[in-house]
Each structure stands twice: as C-alpha cells, then as structure tokens.
C-alpha cells in the first residue's frame, strides 16, 4: 500500500531521535568521551582540524563524537561552527624554521644538521593487527634536552642556488573564505585551497603524478612536525605578541626542473602545510602544489593534477559531499518533466515506426 514520503516535522524529529540513539550505541557499553577521542584518536582529530580549517582539539574531538566517527561529517560540523566565529585579525606567518621539532626526516640527505629525528611514526611498524587490545605501554626513551639547530633542507640548498627561492608574497594575501575562487589563482589562494582540501582526493592526485600523469620527479626534501609559535601584531603595543602554540606538519618537496637556455637548471619546490600531524596530507599537498605550477614553469600538461580548475574546484570535501549527497533530496518535479519528455518522444517514435511499417 502506498504511503506518501512527503515527510513532516514529526518524521524529521523522529529521525533525529533515532540518530541520537544509534550514536550512543549499546547503553551497556561505556560512553566515549571527547577527551578520549582527542587523546587516543589524535590523528583523526588532526585531520578534522586541518580540513575543518579550525585549530581547536576539543571542538574537533567533539565533532568526531557527534558525527559518529564520520570524519567528513565532523569536518563539516567544524566548518559550520567556524562560520559563526568573529574574525579579529590575521597572525604573522608562522616560522617553521624555529619549530620545536618532534619529528624531522629528509629523504634527500643521509644526515644533516639537526639529524634524522624519527619521532612517533607508523613508518617502521609492521602492519600486524594486534588482537590483544589492551597492552602495557612502555616509557619512551629519554633523549637529552638540548635543542640542536635544525635548518630547513630547502634553505641549505637555496644557499647554493640549487633550488629556486621560496616565492615571497607580494601585496595582500588572498582569503579563500572571504573571496570566492576565481581563476587563474595565485599561490596564496592555491595553497589555502589545498590546505583545507580532502586528503583522499589530494592523495590520489599526487599519486597519479608519480605514475606518469604529469611527472615532477619529487624527493621528500624535508618533513617536519612540531610546535610553532603563533604571533599577532598588537597595534596598541606596536609589535608581535605570542598568543599560543600550534602543532603543524610541513613538507617540502624537491622537484626537478629542466633548465632552459636562459636559466641554469635548478630544483623546484612543492609545499605542504597542515594543522596537527597529517604527514600523508602534507606530502600529497606538496606534490599537487608542484603539479599545479606546470603552466608557470612552462611544462607540458599531461594529467588532471596539473589542471588548476579541475583540482581546486573539487578539492573541498564539504562542498563535494554536499552536492553528491544532495541527490538524496527530492527531485521529482524535475524528474517528472524528464518523464514527460521521454514518454512523448517514445510515443512519436512508436507512431513513426508504425507509419513506416504501414507504408511497407
């Protein structure tokens, strides 16, 4: 028997209650806390901060809990919350050269000033599923507290002119959240777009460049993770004032560039930066950043990763999820029109066929 799915306020309210119930799960199982999520599912929290474009571990953890672990849903929650926050200024650019290093590796050099600091990483683990869930955790090895100078690899190469200088920003920095995207874009807006872009999307695009769809011959010059200081210029005082610390991940990719007759060949850069510990994202971002410079560097366009409009228009998972999932909304009015058209064309086709057969 037909029941109209025209919903009503009651149906929606009931759906929300069901959702809250499903979110809680079995009441006999202890309720998870946002604090536990923040501590023990830290990398999920980091991703939500990075793509949610908001640095707040507490809120990100809360969003993950509310979203039942769906990270894109959590990112959406954080972004929507971000909209309500007043903006009271812009910070000074963070100086990753002065980072308090937790992890720092370079694939380009065996050893370098500051050393290869492995830090907490999955890289060397064997991916064996640990069935014994609750095991004792050993104390980490204590290292001496002295901090070694840790210059950036790209600065070391740059001193010899082996790599192009880091592009300096000229004029005002664009703001993707205050101006709609308009092509062609400059580096500032490009990096903003990539920084909040979906990790999976950028990962796939970066991967494609390694497989021939626009190759840039990348080396991981440096990946560093740690704390940087956030400073804001207080107008009343007239100088920069520290307002807190952020944990960021930075990736500098070193890429090959075929020099021209006018210029000696040199390495080119790809840059990635994220909130929190998001190595895969920072690396993918650096690969895609470099690929998108194809036109600037006069390279042949061979793959979608080099297509600025393609990449930057589709990198935002909040937009993408919204539009893909909007197909669940009723479309029966438009569909009805299409139905009418197709029915009419079928009638005409049948009539034409019948007329043709009658004539034979």
């Amino acid at each position: 028997m037909y029941v109209a799915v025209k919903g009503g306020e009651r149906a929606i309210d009931n759906a929300h209650r069901l959702l809250a119930h499903a979110r809680r799960g079995d009441p006999a199982v202890p309720e998870i806390s946002a604090k536990q999520i923040s501590q023990q599912l830290a990398l999920g929290v980091d991703r939500v901060m990075a793509e949610g474009s908001l640095y707040d571990r507490e809120l990100a953890a809360l969003a993950i809990k509310q979203a039942r672990g769906d990270l894109i849903e959590a990112i959406f929650l954080l972004r929507a919350y971000r909209t309500t926050l007043p903006r009271f200024g812009a910070s000074e650019p963070v100086d990753t050269g002065r980072m308090a290093i937790r992890r720092r590796i370079s694939a380009a050099f065996k050893d370098l000033p500051g050393g290869q600091v492995l830090g907490p990483t999955f890289d060397y683990t064997h991916r064996l599923l640990e069935l014994a869930e609750f095991t004792a955790v050993e104390e980490p090895v204590q290292t001496p507290a002295e901090t070694m100078p840790t210059p950036r690899v790209t600065d070391l190469l740059g001193a010899d002119g082996l790599i192009e200088p880091s592009p300096q920003s000229i004029g005002d920095v664009g703001d993707l959240t205050r101006e709609p995207l308009s092509f062609p874009v400059e580096r500032d807006v490009r990096l903003q777009n990539l920084a909040r872009g979906d990790e999976g999307f950028l990962l796939a695009l970066g991967y494609s460049t390694q497989r021939g769809f626009g190759r840039s011959h990348p080396f991981a010059g440096e990946i560093r993770l740690g704390e940087v200081e956030l400073e804001i210029v207080a107008e009343e005082i007239g100088c920069a004032v520290p307002v807190g610390h952020l944990i960021v991940t930075e990736c500098q990719m070193i890429n090959q560039f075929k020099g021209s007759a006018q210029e000696a060949p040199g390495f080119t850069r790809g840059y990635g930066l994220t909130f929190g510990h998001c190595e895969r994202k920072a690396m993918a971002m650096a690969l895609v950043d470099r690929a998108l410079r194809a036109r600037e560097l006069g390279e042949e366009l061979k793959g979608p990763t080099q297509d600025e409009e393609f990449v930057l228009s589709h990198s935002d998972n909040v937009q993408a999820a919204g539009f893909v999932e909007h197909l669940k909304l009723p479309h029966y009015v438009d569909f009805q029109s299409e139905l009418g058209l197709v029915r009419r064309m079928r009638q005409e086709f049948a009539a034409a066929t019948a007329a043709r057969e009658a004539a034979e």
Partner: protein, 299 residues
C-alpha cells in the same frame, strides 16, 4: 561549553552586508552571476545554502517567510529550512503564498501570481547555464562578457536535429533583459513564463558555486527557442485528483505496484486553497491522508 548565541538569522551583520552588496549588484545587472564569498552553513552545500544566505540577508523581523521544496511546504528540506529560520530569526512563517513576504523555493515557482510586495528566493545548484557545454569557469565568464552564446545555440539546434525537440525539460535557459542567458534553477519549464514581467523581485542563490543573480521586477525574460520550434510549456494532461485544477503542474504519485497512478498539484498550498474554496477533484475521498489531508481517507 555554552551554547552559541546566534545573530538574527544566523549570519553576522558583516556577512549580511556582503551578501546584500552582491544582491544589489545582481539587481543592477539582471541575469548576471555575481560572485560572493559564500559561508559554510549548518546545512550541506547543495541543500540550499545559497538560498538560505540570501534569505538570511534580506529578512527583517516583520517579514513572513514561506519555504517550499518541489512546490510543497511539507517536504523534509522545506521543513528543515523553515525551522532554521524560525529558530534563528524568530520570524513568522506561513504556508500561504499570499501571506508571505519572502518565499524561498527549491525547484518550483508558486502557482499563485506574486505581487510587488514579495521576494522569491530560488535555491540554485548550478548557476551557469553553459556549464555542461563548457566546464571551465574562466571560459564561460568570457562567453557571457562577450555575449557569445554560440555554444547554447548549437545545443538547441542539435537537440532538434537529433530528437525533434529541444531536449531540455527543466532548468530551461532564458534570456534576461535581452542580454544575459540565465539558468532559472531546476524549475520545470512549465514555470518559465512566470518569470517574465513578474511583479516580485526574483533572487537566485548558489552557495556551493558562490554566485548570486537576480531578475528585477517587471523584467523581460524569454525562454530560448526557434521561431519554428517555439518554447512549449509541459504539464501532464490531466486534472488534479484532489482539487480538479487543470492548469497547475502535477506530481505523479504511484499508488500501487500494479501501475496505479494519480496526479496531484505540486503546489500544496494552492491545492489546499482550491479545496477550501470548494473545488473537488475526482478522487479526493480516496487519497491517503498524507496527500489529501483531512479530506482524504484515514482521518
């Protein structure tokens, strides 16, 4: 953590000002897509954020708001958005078209003619009428600037050569004020003539694509066609089974698994008003309550 205290209609005043500037620009250039810095809203992109931002920016405390989706006040999306504004703006809401000062709509224009005291806000998924002919924004922007609509003409010609008809049944492109080719949003082409010389202001919001456009009151709006293949409205040729209307856009409702169908006015308010005025369709008494309301069975 304390609950966030929201500004009237959710958006802060700076944002509303930014949106209103875009709206004014849009009104000054009918049919032209004005870029604006769309904000993330509490509903997903693709679910009406553009329309919501436009409405939020024009609502005042004395406005009366109607929200419809697929012509009905009762669909989930319309309910959700109406609740959103009831909560964040505290404005009066209504299902009666005649009583509303602002009507936000998805995919339909109300059957009842609008007045100069009303504003119609459309939710738009893809604002660019040339998008599926030319994916690049940089290129379509140029085409509009140069009034180079060759792509569109070619598409229309090709439709007739191939199908004998212009194969567009909704989101049917129109020329506004003799200048810009515009997408009316996925309204059925049946609704296109209502856009022409309309006394109400028509505003279009695309949140994900970050564009606002407008058709000022009493503007010339023409659906693209050929002289010998003129634009035709399409509606299913039947009367509404509830109110017997023969000139409204009808929804097709499948009633059983043996091919049973009934056709009902898409515009729920219009249909209810007709029924209240004494018009009765063929099967009013047979319709399930959810469609026919108290006039149907199962009361």
């Amino acid at each position: 953590m304390t609950r966030a205290a929201y500004n009237f209609a959710y958006l802060d005043e700076q944002t509303k000002r930014m949106v209103r500037r875009a709206i004014l620009k849009a009104i000054a250039i009918p049919g032209y897509q004005v870029p604006f810095a769309s904000r993330e809203m509490p509903m997903p992109y693709g679910w009406g954020t553009g329309g919501v931002q436009v409405t939020a920016s024009i609502l005042g405390p004395d406005d009366v708001l109607k929200v419809i989706d697929q012509g009905s006040d009762d669909t989930t999306n319309a309910v959700s958005i109406r609740k959103f504004f009831a909560k964040t703006a505290g404005v009066r809401t209504t299902t009666h078209t005649a009583d509303a000062s602002v009507i936000q709509t998805r995919h339909r224009i109300p059957e009842q003619p609008l007045t100069e005291a009303q504003i119609l806000v459309y939710q738009v998924p893809v604002p660019e009428p040339l998008r599926f002919l030319e994916p690049r924004e940089a290129e379509t922007r140029k085409l509009h600037a140069l009034a180079d609509y060759g792509l569109m003409h070619v598409k229309l010609y090709e439709d007739i050569a191939r199908h004998g008809h212009i194969a567009t049944s909704y989101a049917y492109p129109v020329k506004v004020d003799g200048r810009y080719v515009t997408d009316p949003s996925p309204t059925p082409k049946f609704d296109n003539p209502k856009m022409d010389d309309c006394p109400a202001l028509q505003l279009f919001g695309a949140g994900r694509e970050k564009r606002i456009y407008a058709i000022p009151p009493h503007t010339n709006v023409v659906s693209l066609d050929f002289e010998d293949h003129p634009f035709e409205r399409y509606r299913h040729d039947a009367e509404c089974v509830l109110c017997a209307a023969a000139d409204t856009y009808l929804d097709e409702v499948i009633t059983d698994d043996r091919g049973g169908r009934m056709f009902v006015c898409s515009d729920s308010d219009h249909c209810a008003a007709r029924r209240a005025a004494g018009h009765h369709g063929a099967s009013l008494s047979d319709a399930p309550t959810a469609i026919g309301g108290e006039g149907g069975r199962g009361r």
